[in-house]
């Protein structure tokens, strides 16, 4: 298996409310989304939200494990209206720091529920920073679009890269 870059997008001046990949080619096995981001809202961190095919009908479930350096917490839900694939720093975090997130979406062209495993880290030169592992599933048809958003805007210089995993 090898990973091929489909497209990489960098958010321009003024930020953007979301990044949406549409018309996703259906010739891969899996998709890998790599996101480097920062939020603009006044907060140390913000969720990175994802919708597949614009679905907001409670067809996502997740189980999350989060560490902040001193405490570990977990959460889960079987009827989420969107995926929270991770956290990224926002406007109250150290200036110019960005978080990293990677989501692996398995069998994205199938009509069966698709597992999505994600890991993310925030960056902050202070005590509040997070590492996040999330196991998700989306019960829907083949994925043709992916929408990435947060509350507030995604800051300028954030990037989203979409790869497909193909058989060699």
């Amino acid at each position: 298996m090898k990973k091929e870059l489909i497209e990489r997008i960098e958010v321009g001046s003024g930020g953007a409310s979301s990044i949406e990949f549409t018309g996703i080619p259906q010739d891969g096995k899996d998709l890998v989304l790599m996101f480097s981001g920062r939020g603009t809202i006044s907060s140390v961190s913000r969720f990175i939200n994802v919708l597949f095919n614009a679905d907001q009908d409670g067809n996502y479930n997740y189980m999350r494990l989060r560490g902040d350096g001193s405490t570990v917490t977990s959460a889960s839900s079987a009827t989420k209206y969107r995926l929270e694939i991770g956290l990224m720093p926002s406007a109250s975090a150290t200036a110019n720091t960005f978080g990293n997130c990677q989501a692996h979406i398995t069998n994205y062209t199938s009509s069966t529920p698709k597992p999505v495993s994600t890991d993310s880290v925030t960056e902050n030169n202070a005590t509040e920073a997070y590492a996040n592992l999330v196991a998700n599933t989306w019960d829907g048809p083949a994925i043709t679009s992916i929408n990435i958003s947060t509350s507030g805007n995604i800051a300028e210089h954030s990037t989203a890269s979409l790869y497909r995993v193909v058989a060699e």
């Binding site: 497209e7 321009g12 003024g14 953007a16 949406e20 018309g23 809202i41 913000r46 939200n49």
Partner: protein
């Protein structure tokens, strides 16, 4: 910088170089976004409160162990903290 929030739409069915569009949000999308932000903030506050409860319980447990005569090293050894 635009007053109206924008979204970046990348149509992968088009050739490279012609895929990216910057589109202003509609009034409906802006309203939806505000609802999502409110929900996310409420959820964040709940999770912060839960994390604080855990931290408080941990501190209380450590205090009780110390009151029983355990050293900080001994407490760390049995709690993994």
């Amino acid at each position: 910088m635009s007053e109206t929030p924008v979204k970046v739409v990348v149509d992968l069915s088009k050739p490279k170089g012609q895929r990216e569009s910057i589109i202003e949000l509609t009034a409906e999308e802006i309203a939806e976004r505000e609802v999502m932000a409110t929900e996310a903030e409420a959820q964040r506050l709940v999770e912060e409160a839960e994390a604080q409860d855990i931290a408080d319980a941990k501190a209380s447990a450590n205090d009780k162990l110390a009151a029983l005569g355990l050293s900080a090293k001994e407490i760390a050894a049995i709690t993994g903290a």
